[in-house]
């Protein structure tokens, strides 16, 4: 069935900002889909509010809307663009939900827009629990047993069939009491009774517990001719009960016999047909009882997912690209497999390696939250590793996580881990359980015991035990002969031991291990990822390292050398590794741009990264892809065989930057800003010297080690001070302290983090405005690309504050001075490439807070706001082009205002207060683009899913400091028609300024308190600024309640002001939508 010709224009919905559970995998899938559909000649209209995505680059689609992903905005876009169809299955759950809402509100019918990929009733059938169950039963699939009960007799009858353990959930309870697990009859009676009583409709759901069962996933594709293939099977190392996004998973499935695997496959085929997913990819999850093999269906996602991105990277089969082609009418046999070129896409990939995915957590950012894992996803990123064996893949994956582990290593001495703690950490799933398994094995726990305690399949545990046993053998060998025999060394490398791990075992340096093994010819070899286990020739160079006999990357280089007379110059781009808070999609965006730009300029681009979610690890993005951990050893292995002309370290965030010095010392040709300049910017003393020379101010600061010194230094610098340990794990523990008491408390808290490293003390500039600048320098000229004024005052991490470009309150002279400082700093640091500077402006005095001679988080935002691809330009500068050869936009006359707003993950971490501070907590960002600040800000709020109200009630409670400024704002809100509620103190201030408000208690019984008002949706907006020293617990409850009820809660005065502007603009002007392309066109004419 060839391509459909009755549709021409297709609207593609992106997934919006990066949040936990929905990350850059949807940029990868959406970008692939866009490219695939454009290739087929369709006109694409793309909507996504996330500026850090590749898909929103103006070259990817002809009509790109950086607009909020809400039904109202989508309707405006549909009305304007009149697409023939919508493809919602590539934009995650956001895309699917919007499609459902558009359909339900009759908008699709009104504008005659067809749903591609999954129809409305298909989405409903897959997502509605009841309908899904019916469908499964209809085609004979087993599900966990479950039954509703309305009284104890029914409950007793139900549990007879279901058995123990079971889960009791009561329906419609106040406060949403979760399910509870029941192990025995006695327990059951009490809990069932309580459940029935607490349910408003006296209903409980009794469910069979399948916690601890083996969990599997299949990635399935179907075309319009009803051909179905399984792209990949995935087995979870962590059993049922832990969200699959938080589980370590492997591909392919390991512990199913062919008979069981085929049974699972048959069920998947039946299910996708019954649900009726017409075209595209779906993900189906199964659980298997390890005792008897009973197989039950858990759920199905009728769209591409995080797992499908993983499956694509794990096999080389581009699910999203093919899903897009299937959606417009092609069948699987009509699509070629890009990798083999000869064979069609209607096959099932096979692999000849083992793939592991390990989630990356950032619990250290939320110390109040427990790092215990369960059914709600909490990880913020993941790394994938490929090895010829599970052992190798596991070790590569663990070092690829970049959490200071060099593999399945000994970061902590197992002898000092208390048995009780170890048992608890084994039993209760948590972010570092895998390392506790190692301690347990080292302490002599058996695989049987571990299997019983962790319920992790013995297959995985036995491999881990092999690693522990072999490590012990190596230690003995070193004790006897002071070194390792070549044969042992080779086996160690084959089993994934890193050089640092071996250095520890051999008690020598990492470089000594490296030299020794090279001397014995033990070097990494590279193998291809080709969808077919080498059955056919692969044309796509996608490699991973292992220790084998044949090196396909070297063979390929030799072939190119033979065939090509003038080989292209090679540039290696080091990626950012797993996403984490503070280092995410923005850096991947920059890496992709470097690859695109240099490829266009005729270079051979080589990408190194370990993050399966990204566009950078799409085999199409660069000329060569190495899916490898970003460690010195792994990167050097690649540089050894590729011998590149340049290595780019400034685009992948802190990860490659941290490697820069060692790579440089090892002779790697790092291009762009020199490693020495990076050091000047990062070394406090050298940096202070430089600023002194240039006559540029920075806040007073000091470095001190002992407690007495720190206290003295703080006094000298003057409170309030910003303090942090100089050596911090994951950017942890930065705080503003206002007095000695809190300073001492801080020192106490971080003593184990900083472990003897000094503490850095900076004067904290209260009420200062923060400004971010992105610039490009070629060593001679400087282009200041964006001056961003933060909405929130200094003291809130730049990644967590909203910002506006161009600045809306800064005076021209301040802006001019900032630009001047930027140019002087760039030239003094001899920057070649990108540069980001953070300034604080207090009054008209300007201070430099930080200089980062690398790509920053705001590069994609600025690029889109001004219409110039900064990362691409910077990459070209780094290979020797000059700024003067580019025509760059005049940023003083943009004609539009762009607002960046961040998105925070608070709802995922119960017990965590939502206030912002100097430590970054946001996971993603959105952009609002409009002619005025108010409209742009309002759009950014809608995009960040905290839409501003048009009418209703506002609750205000501010700290002492903010009280003097609140009255005017409250009056404005009052004049706009809002009813004002306030706490006693705030109300008093308002009254004295002539603003009427009703008083609400912070706590207490009855209706006259804020919590009750929030509960019954009586408040549309909360403005609450926490007091400086400690956040009061009452206020904390209010903020938590606002988050729970999805009511926008603003915690800074500046944020509140921006919101008032936004509301005003919404009420007066309404909204218009426009594409980036139209905006740039207008700009170039102006």
């Amino acid at each position: 069935m060839p391509k459909r010709t009755d549709i021409k224009k297709i609207l593609l919905i992106g997934a919006g900002p990066i949040v936990i559970g929905q990350a850059c995998e949807f940029d990868y899938s959406g970008t692939q889909a866009c490219k695939a559909l454009r290739e087929e000649g369709f006109e694409i209209v793309l909507v996504n509010s996330n500026p850090a995505t590749i898909m929103t680059d103006p070259e990817i689609a002809p009509h790109t809307y950086l607009e909020p992903l809400t039904v109202d905005f989508l309707e405006l876009i549909i009305e304007k663009e009149r697409p023939d169809a919508i493809l919602p299955t590539l934009g995650g759950q956001t895309g699917l939900n919007l499609a459902v809402e558009l359909w339900e509100r009759g908008i699709l019918e009104k504008y005659k827009v067809e749903l591609l990929g999954a129809k409305y009733d298909v989405i409903k059938k897959a997502e509605d629990r009841k309908k899904f169950k019916e469908s499964c039963l209809k085609v004979g699939l087993d599900l966990p047993k479950s039954s509703f009960a309305y009284n104890m007799e029914e409950a007793e009858a139900a549990v007879k069939d279901i058995g123990f353990p079971c889960i009791i959930r009561s329906s419609f309870t106040l406060g949403g009491i979760g399910g509870s697990i029941v192990y025995s009859q006695e327990e059951f009676e009490a809990k069932a009774r309580r459940g029935i009583e607490s349910s408003m409709i006296h209903e409980i759901l009794i469910e069979e517990s399948i916690e601890g069962w083996k969990e599997y996933e299949l990635e399935v594709m179907r075309d319009r001719k009803d051909n179905v293939v399984i792209v990949c099977s995935i087995e979870n190392l962590d059993p049922m009960g832990i969200h699959t996004g938080d589980s370590i998973t492997v591909a392919p499935a390991q512990t199913l016999t062919d008979r069981e695997y085929q049974q699972m496959r048959d069920q998947a085929l039946k299910l996708i047909r019954e649900i009726g997913v017409e075209t595209g990819g779906s993900n189906i999850q199964f659980a298997v009882n390890p005792q008897n093999g009973r197989m039950v269906v858990i759920e199905m996602n009728p769209r591409v997912s995080r797992s499908s991105a993983l499956a694509s990277k794990a096999t080389g089969f581009p699910i999203a690209k093919f899903a897009a082609k299937l959606a417009v009418g092609y069948s699987l046999d009509e699509i070629r497999n890009d990798i083999t070129r000869e064979t069609p896409a209607s096959f099932e990939p096979v692999i000849d390696y083992c793939v592991i995915k390990i989630p990356r957590f950032t619990f250290e950012k939320f110390p109040e939250a427990k790092d215990v894992l369960g059914v709600q996803m909490k990880s913020v990123g993941e790394t994938m590793a490929i090895g010829r064996t599970f052992k190798e893949a596991l070790q590569k994956g663990l070092r690829g996580l970049e959490i200071h582990h060099t593999g399945f290593d000994n970061a902590m001495d197992y002898r000092i881990v208390a048995d009780e703690k170890m048992l608890l950490r084994l039993r209760e799933p948590n972010a570092s359980r895998i390392f506790y398994i190692k301690y347990a094995l080292q302490k002599g726990m058996t695989v049987d015991e571990l299997e019983r305690i962790t319920r992790i399949d013995r297959w995985f545990l036995a491999h881990m035990k092999q690693l522990v046993d072999f490590e012990r053998e190596m230690i003995v060998e070193v004790e006897l002969s002071r070194t390792l025999a070549p044969r042992t060394l080779r086996k160690a490398k084959e089993w994934g031991f890193s050089d640092p791990q071996l250095a520890e075992i051999m008690d020598c340096s990492e470089s000594a291990v490296r030299d020794l093994r090279k001397q014995h010819g033990i070097v990494a070899t590279f193998k291809g990822v080709d969808t077919c286990a080498a059955e056919f020739e692969a044309y796509t160079p996608y490699f991973y390292s292992t220790y084998e006999t044949e090196d396909e990357a070297v063979l390929r280089n030799q072939k190119i050398d033979r065939e090509v007379k003038t080989p292209r110059r090679k540039i290696v781009i080091l990626g950012g590794g797993p996403n984490r808070i503070g280092q995410g999609i923005e850096f991947d965006y920059c890496c992709c741009h470097a690859a695109f730009a240099l490829r266009e300029r005729g270079y051979e681009t080589i990408m190194v990264n370990s993050n399966p979610e990204t566009v950078s690890t799409d085999y199409d993005t660069s000329d060569r892809l190495y899916f490898e951990p970003l460690t010195f050893e792994d990167v050097m292995n690649i540089l050894d065989i590729e011998k590149p002309d340049g290595v780019i370290v400034q685009f992948g965030g802190q990860t490659p930057l941290n490697l820069a010095r060692r790579l440089c010392q090892a002779g790697a040709p790092i291009i762009g800003t020199s490693v020495d300049s990076i050091d000047v910017a990062e070394n406090r003393e050298r940096f202070a010297q430089l600023l002194n020379q240039l006559g540029i101010a920075q806040p007073r600061n000091a470095t001190a080690s002992s407690v007495a010194q720190v206290v003295a230094a703080a006094l000298q610098v003057g409170y309030p001070v910003l303090v942090r340990p100089s050596y911090v794990l994951g950017g942890r523990a930065m705080r503003i302290v206002y007095d000695e008491e809190s300073l001492l408390g801080f020192i106490d808290e971080v003593s184990d983090v900083s472990r003897g490293h000094p503490i850095l003390i900076d004067k904290f500039l209260e009420d200062a405005m923060e400004v971010d600048v992105d610039a490009i320098c070629d060593g001679k000229d400087v282009y200041v690309a964006g001056v961003m004024e933060h909405i929130e005052n200094a003291g809130i991490h730049s990644g967590d504050s909203a910002c506006v470009l161009p600045p809306h309150t800064l005076s021209e002279s301040v802006i001019a001075e900032i630009k001047d400082y930027t140019c002087r700093l760039a030239l003094a640091l001899k920057v070649v490439g990108l540069l980001n500077i953070q300034f604080a402006v207090k009054g008209d005095k300007i201070y430099v807070l930080e200089v980062n001679p690398r790509a920053s988080r705001t590069v994609p935002f600025v690029s889109k706001a001004i219409g110039a691809p900064l990362a691409k330009i910077a990459a070209r500068i780094m290979v020797g082009e000059k700024l003067s050869s580019f025509s760059l936009p005049d940023i003083d006359h943009l004609g539009q205002v762009a607002v960046k707003e961040c998105v925070l993950p608070f709802s995922r971490f119960s017990g965590v207060d939502i206030i912002l501070g100097p430590e970054m907590k946001s996971t993603g960002e959105v952009m609002g683009l409009a002619p005025t600040f108010g409209a742009a800000f309002a759009k950014s709020q809608f995009a960040a899913n905290q839409g501003l109200p048009r009418k209703g009630s506002v609750f205000i409670s501010v700290n002492e400091h903010d009280k003097r400024n609140i009255a005017f704002m409250a009056k404005r809100l009052h004049d706009l028609g809002f009813k004002i509620f306030a706490t006693k103190g705030t109300a008093k201030v308002l009254r004295s300024s002539g603003v009427a408000s009703s008083i609400l208690d912070k706590t207490g019984e009855g209706d006259n308190n804020i919590l009750a008002m929030l509960q019954k949706n009586g408040i549309e907006l909360v403005i609450n600024t926490p007091s400086g020293k400690t956040s009061q617990s009452d206020m904390r409850k209010i903020r938590a309640a606002a988050i729970m009820h999805n009511i926008p809660c603003i915690t800074t005065l500046q944020g509140a002001w921006a919101a008032v502007h936004g509301i005003e603009s919404t009420l007066k002007e309404g909204f218009t939508v426009g594409s980036l392309q139209a905006y740039y066109q207008k700009m170039s004419k102006a």
């Binding site: 209607s346 692999i351 036995a462």
Partner: protein, 366 residues
């Protein structure tokens, strides 16, 4: 651990370590790309005389069990893997793969760069190979290999087929009786047919057409089996005599013999099809099935009389013939394995088609 060497006919060699069984094993080296199903592969009689290289590197993960045997013994001549799993996990497992192979005294080598080996076989083609635990000199092994007979022209069927006729009963009610010419049949074919109400009367491949017809069966099944179909003129002759007399269904070697009996030719594929992911298109329905395959030889469509015989299925990877149908006589055959084991169940419908063919024949000749 004992060292072992795998040496190919062209002198290429790979080092590894052996399991318990010592000695030398020679055969044709072929690679299999299935991710699961090693037990079925090991016991599939079609692999007689072959050294099987598994491209998936972790083999033995789920142990072995009683139910998934495709015959009563291991048929592969030698087994090559990257890593054997020593601690398996599966609720049905009764034994580890390593102990099973040791018990059956199979010479196996692990630690081999099986991907390099596969790439070599893909380019150079399937060839003779030897695994040795006693002689680790590639030159000497190469010399020994020169004396090993080639797969082409050799009759391997005699070594694996049954010696005596026997019955494989239908599950539940017997609806049909089929004479199975056993050239090394996989048990799952018999299981699948039995599940559909077919009683199989399994006869040795030397059974004459007259003896077969004397069974008064509803149909004839030509089984899979090892080796070169051109080396089996005695069976081809029998098949030729049976054409048109009763409905016939052939699988794999059975398909090739039918091709030969219909006057066609077979040829050797460069490295064969051995795996579970080959896309096959049913030319009648247009549907694509993912199929289980295991063959080194192939029927040449051009050699057949187009007016009589048509291709019913093709392989979408390399366009080779995957199925034949006679325009006049009630017979059809497929090159791949609808019984799977290992592999997907997408082609199970062919057994139903066989039953429909027998039903129609019965009605037409009632």
């Amino acid at each position: 651990m004992k060292d072992a060497l795998l040496c190919l006919e062209d002198g290429t060699s790979f080092r590894g370590t052996a399991l318990s069984t010592s000695g030398e094993a020679a055969g044709e080296a072929v690679f299999n790309t299935a991710l699961s199903g090693y037990q079925e592969v090991l016991t599939d009689p079609s692999y007689a005389g072959q050294i099987v290289v598994m491209t998936y590197p972790l083999i033995g993960n789920y142990g072995v069990n009683f139910e998934d045997m495709e015959s009563d013994r291991v048929h592969v001549r030698g087994f090559v893997v990257k890593e054997f799993c020593r601690e398996h996990s599966n609720f049905r497992a009764t034994e580890s793969l390593v102990s099973y192979l040791d018990r059956h005294q199979i010479i196996a080598i692990e630690g081999v760069d099986t991907r390099a080996l596969t790439r070599h076989l893909r380019v150079a083609g399937a060839m003779k190979a030897m695994i040795s635990t006693t002689d680790l000199d590639p030159v000497s092994l190469k010399a020994k290999l020169a004396l090993v007979p080639s797969m082409e022209g050799a009759d391997w069927v005699r070594t694996v087929a049954c010696q005596k006729a026997h019955i494989y009963k239908a599950v539940a009610k017997k609806m049909f009786k089929v004479v199975v010419i056993d050239c090394g049949i996989k048990l799952n074919i018999l299981r699948e047919m039995a599940a559909l109400g077919i009683e199989s009367y399994v006869v040795p491949p030397t059974t004459s057409a007259a003896e077969i017809l004397a069974q008064q069966a509803d149909g004839i099944f030509l089984s899979n089996g090892p080796g070169d179909p051109a080396a089996l003129p005695y069976i081809v002759k029998t098949v030729r005599e049976l054409i048109g007399k009763l409905p016939i269904f052939g699988i794999c070697l059975g398909h090739q013999m039918l091709g030969l009996a219909l006057g066609g030719r077979t040829y050797k594929l460069k490295f064969g099809h051995h795996g579970c992911n080959h896309p096959v298109k049913d030319l009648e329905s247009g549907r694509i099935g993912i199929t289980s395959q295991n063959h080194g030889f192939c029927v040449d469509l051009k050699s057949l009389d187009k007016s009589q015989i048509e291709a019913s299925h093709i392989n979408l990877n390399d366009q080779t013939v995957e199925g034949l149908r006679h325009k006049k006589y009630p017979l059809f055959s497929v090159q791949y394995h609808p019984e799977a084991a290992p592999g997907p169940n997408d082609a199970k419908y062919l057994f139903t088609q066989f039953i429909q063919l027998m039903e129609k024949y019965k009605k037409d000749h009632a």
